[in-house]
Symmetry: C2
Subunit: 145 residues, 2 copies
DNA sequence: TTAGTTGCAAATCGTTTGCATCAAG
DNA sequence: CTTGATGCAAACGATTTGCAACTAA
């Protein structure tokens, strides 16, 4: 999914107008190795000489999130929202408290747990957010207390 | 831990000055059944005729978080920070997407998982944040799509 | 006495909104 | 043509900061 046509199709499929800016934002988000902020998207596009207003980026992201094409996250550390492409593969992130780099972890340790919890709590469980924190190999030694 | 003396001791133990306002904030946070926002703390204190400036509350919370006396959380849904007393009992929250009520879940499904992950990833894992979303019994039926 | 704490007002930062213009269907 | 998308500037809400006055140690 790295050619422009497929973004157009995706948008059409979800009942959204196929605009240049939506395509651009989608591309940046999809190709980003890590969840990315609205501002980062803005500058990233600027570097490619694509000028999109920051508020438009927020609006585009909002619609993409509503359509479940993009996932929005809020980390305790950053206090700004991060966005990532929804590849439909359930995964989590391992975040380095030193350099803030994020590693994707595929596979989820919570599937069985949620079923049990659903029965015990009476909640109808729809999802979860899990982030794991630590220090990566590079940062391990710089943060010894 | 619901008497004033123990808050003073806790502060002293952590090398913090024992001030009235810190005691008040600690008390509100500790007695709150759910993670609570700075603003909620502010109004809660106001009702008890304790006047603390909102910016002081933020500063107090910051120091308490740094000393690991209080835990800060950021939910994707609310976009404001919530604070809870660190009882040292590891637990998570089950959050109703309807009425936003939060249930505490004790026990953690991740302990073994983290050990494995630590070996596989080379990260030195320090902790995690997990929130589980769903609809509670009361809200289940109001949100059928 | 001195370093750390607080109140107050102003600044900051991420995000949202109103409105006029523009482009996709 | 019509509805929805965008740019721009201004508004917003949560949080932070500078500074002077104060208080715990």
């Amino acid at each position: 999914m790295d050619n422009t046509a497929s973004y157009s199709e995706l948008l059409k499929l979800k009942g959204l107008k196929n605009t240049k800016h939506r395509n651009s934002v989608l591309k940046v988000v999809e190709l980003s190795e890590q969840p990315i902020s609205a501002e980062q998207i803005y500058f990233n596009l600027k570097e490619s000489n694509v000028s999109v207003n920051l508020s438009s980026i927020y609006r585009i992201l909002e619609t993409l999130v509503n359509k479940n094409i993009v996932i929005k996250t809020n980390l305790t550390v950053t206090n700004k929202a991060l966005y990532e492409f929804n590849f439909q593969i359930h995964k989590h992130h391992l975040i380095c408290s030193g350099c803030k780099k994020m590693l994707s972890i595929e596979g989820c340790p919570l599937e069985d747990y949620e079923k049990t919890l659903q029965e015990k709590s009476g909640f109808s469980i729809t999802g979860h957010s899990l982030e794991i924190y630590g220090y990566c190999n590079d940062c391990k030694n710089n943060y010894k207390s």
